[in-house]
């Protein structure tokens, strides 16, 4: 039956052989390969829940009076955007579930991409011929961060309004074009003109999703053409791929993962409250609240804005580069610029221009691993600095002292982590040179007399357990 259907299709499109090839496509088995799939499946959930939300949400800053079922906001003036989001949460059956699943899925989507990126970086999977695909992936990460920000900014609650105020200040801070850019995007001065919310909406539901979706298709194609990478192992070489074929083994497993991801997201959406916008209240430019925090994937930027010393670049009596530029534009530009440039930097430094289909383990390339760990530490330290105000409220550590501590840590920790990681990787590698696999064991052989004697020294490097102890 299936054979007949495939045959019929094949005689008309020539697709049969492609289909057969696809079904035979081999996926190497390793648990770290799942992060990309989790990101892909979170995106599917985001699109599905997002389409549902657009059926109820009204992206308009027109002021209305709330008459929904949430009593504390009864009779209050607010924008249509906020009112429709509150109504969606209280008066649409399953509305709150879908909205919370959408928010959770966004958090998981970004987290999965970041972990996936770390896997790609630390195993050297970005090397030729996959460097182009690495750039595609990085671009998707940038787009996903902007997409997430646009998403939670749409609701026009107090938190999202404060986020937009900062976003507008960051846009204004770009040298020379900032003033124009800020007023162009916002359709006037902050909080923006009539057109702003419909622009933000179309960016969130059409422009960015289509860009991300297209890049995702390109990403998957560029994975399939040179086929998957794999770790070294018996029977695995640069020339082959060893793993589970798509059909039936891998497809069912991956579909299983899809439903598990969906299950976790719906469980979170149903059971764990997220972004209770009715508690924040509607946004007005003259309102603010203490303890405001963005979604996690913007934590590194609020940290950078808070850590940056008060410094503007001033020429004469005019501000050329205002302060938000350093943390809001320059910092992410340096981080992503480094990540984009890395494959080329490594090629130039090592002179290695060969094709690589076998992955390194992090220890196989101590310097790369150390650089990656240092970069991650730098970003993570600044990320945690963004939560210093919470640590002040919860633990009572003075905010000023924390700020200076984080400033020092953001410079010293990456350096320390670099040397520590390198040392650990080198130690692990040394241990492995020995047949005893890092235990410091010696190979003994029985001699003619019935006794035992050691073959060779303690290992290729001559390390003995006593040496190892210090």
């Amino acid at each position: 039956m299936i054979r007949r259907a495939v045959g019929a299709l094949d005689q008309r499109t020539g697709g049969g052989s492609v289909l057969a090839k696809t079904l035979r496509y081999v996926f190497p088995d390793h648990w770290t390969f799942l992060f990309g799939e989790i990101a892909l499946y979170s995106f599917l959930i985001l699109v599905a829940t997002g389409i549902y939300l657009t059926l109820f949400f009204e992206p308009s800053s027109t002021q209305v009076v709330y008459h929904g079922s949430y009593a504390p906001l009864q009779g209050q003036e607010m924008s249509k955007a906020y009112a429709s989001a509150v109504e969606l949460s209280f008066d649409v059956r399953a509305g709150l579930l879908i909205r919370q699943v959408h928010h959770w899925a966004a958090l998981v989507f970004l987290a999965a991409i970041v972990v996936h990126l770390m896997r790609i970086f630390f195993t050297g999977a970005y090397r030729k011929p996959r460097d182009v695909n690495y750039y595609v992936g990085l671009t998707m990460l940038v787009l996903a961060v902007v997409e997430g920000y646009a998403g939670y900014s749409l609701l026009d609650d107090l938190l999202s309004g404060m986020g937009l105020a900062i976003g507008n200040a960051v846009a204004l801070s770009i040298p020379f074009v900032g003033g124009q850019l800020g007023t162009l995007i916002w359709d006037g001065r902050f909080p923006g003109g009539e057109a702003f919310f419909s622009r933000l909406f179309i960016a969130h539901v059409l422009i960015f999703p289509v860009l991300i979706g297209s890049l995702m298709a390109l990403h998957l194609t560029l994975i399939a053409i040179p086929k998957h990478t794999q770790f070294r192992g018996r029977g695995r070489s640069e020339a082959n791929v060893v793993g589970t074929p798509l059909w039936p083994g891998y497809a069912l497993r991956s579909l299983g993962l899809l439903f598990c991801v969906a299950a976790v997201l719906f469980a979170l959406g149903g059971l764990v409250q997220i972004n209770p916008i009715w508690q924040w209240g509607p946004y007005e430019p003259y309102l603010g609240t203490n303890g405001a925090q963005p979604d996690w994937y913007l934590g590194w930027l609020i940290g950078a804005l808070r850590l940056m010393p008060h410094f503007d670049l001033v020429i004469g009596s005019y501000t050329v580069i205002p302060n938000p530029f350093w943390g809001g534009v320059l910092f992410p530009a340096v981080v992503f610029g480094f990540l984009y440039a890395w494959p080329a930097i490594e090629r130039r430094r090592t002179g290695d221009r060969a094709q690589h289909n076998l992955l390194d383990r992090p220890r196989d390339n101590p310097r790369r691993t150390a650089i990656g760990a240092a970069l991650f530490t730098w970003v993570a330290t600044i990320f945690f600095a963004g939560a210093a105000d919470r640590a002040f409220v919860q633990l009572g550590v003075p905010y000023e002292a924390q700020l200076w501590g984080y400033r020092a840590a953001s410079i010293l920790l990456p350096i320390a982590v670099y040397f520590l990681t390198r040392r650990i990787c080198e130690r692990l590698r040394e241990g492995e040179g020995h047949p005893g696999r890092g235990s410091g064991a010696r190979v003994l052989a029985r001699n003619r007399e019935g006794g035992f004697e050691q073959i060779g020294a303690g290992g290729p490097t001559g390390v003995t357990p006593a040496d190892r102890g210090n």
């Binding site: 007023t183 359709d187 603010g288 302060n323």
Partner: protein, 311 residues
């Protein structure tokens, strides 16, 4: 004249270069009409049509003269079922990737062989690309109003009354020492960035205002823009010392990045990433009501490339 001196192909190249150059000019014409001729619809349409049409004409002429049109043959893919004897030929017809690369570069080179003045054509194509590209990007400028004085607009003038959120006038006796409230310029849109001010009251004897602001704070009442000069969140925290000897002095704090402004010194920044002082509004009291005695002392909101830095 040209025809007699140059080979026919060279004449065609000059024509193509001219067309490309004109396409670029027409594109710039579109930008000029957009910027200076008030965006006249008919002129805009004609300019863009000219730019695109000239570009198209140049490419068509190039395809007929400089790059030769040749007929080629390509194998059709075989959709027959596997195992009916046609596979072998299909296998043989496929070329290795390396061959394919060579083929492509040969084809490319053969096409360019006829071009003797590559540089001229390249420059012309660049001009056309720049002009048409500029024309394509220009409409983005319609997204928002031009900055102009927009970012500096403020509803505060000498004589503007301070009102509360419900529109009632702010009276001086409402505020005790150590308390604060949010007020707005009477008649202004409350959502306007510069409309909101935060009014605080401190002991008049503690004030350390600069000499030119000495009469801006009657009875120890001070008003500051409510929008932080760092990233324009609302400065909604007022820190007032409970025990003056040990606590830091009265200050306004922004909850977004904790920029802190000294109230006694006229909004001077004492902590956090903000650089500019919080703009102060001079006050006077008329029949118990708070009235602005002038304009705000600086630009409201985040700094940008046109803002003046005051001490």
């Amino acid at each position: 004249m040209i025809r007699r001196l140059l080979a026919p192909a060279a004449a065609a190249e000059l024509l193509i270069a001219a067309l490309l150059g004109l396409a670029g000019l027409a594109g710039l014409g579109f930008v000029a009409v957009y910027a200076f001729a008030g965006g006249d619809t008919q002129l805009l349409g004609v300019a863009l049509a000219l730019a695109l049409g000239l570009l198209g004409a140049a490419l068509l002429i190039a395809s007929r003269t400089v790059f030769k049109q040749r007929q080629a043959e390509e194998e059709r893919p075989d959709f027959a079922l596997p195992g009916d004897g046609t596979e072998a030929t299909a296998e043989a017809a496929t070329t290795t990737p390396a061959d394919g690369v060579d083929d492509a570069s040969v084809t490319l080179r053969a096409g360019v062989e006829g071009v003797t003045r590559r540089r001229l054509l390249g420059a012309a194509a660049g001009a056309a690309g720049a002009g048409v590209g500029a024309a394509a990007l220009t409409p983005i400028a319609s997204l928002g109003p031009r900055v102009g004085k927009l970012l500096g607009e403020s509803p505060w003038h000498d004589g503007t009354a301070l009102v509360e959120e419900n529109g009632l006038p702010v009276r001086a006796e409402e505020l005790e020492v150590g308390s604060f409230l949010t007020a707005f310029a009477e008649g202004a849109d409350k959502r306007e960035l510069a409309a909101a001010v935060i009014v605080v009251r401190v002991e008049e004897s503690e004030l350390e205002l600069p000499s030119e602001r000495r009469d801006w704070a009657p009875l120890g009442l001070l008003a500051f823009s409510k929008i932080c000069t760092h990233a324009q969140c609302a400065v909604s925290l007022f820190r007032y010392p409970l025990f003056a000897e040990r606590s830091p002095g009265p200050a306004l704090v922004c909850p977004c990045h904790y920029s802190t402004f000294d109230v006694l010194k006229g909004g001077e920044r004492v902590f956090g990433p903000a650089v500019r002082a919080l703009p102060q509004l001079p006050l006077r009291i008329e029949a118990g009501r708070l009235i602005a005695a002038g304009e705000l002392s600086g630009a409201v909101g985040a700094s940008w490339g046109g803002v003046r830095e005051e001490s």
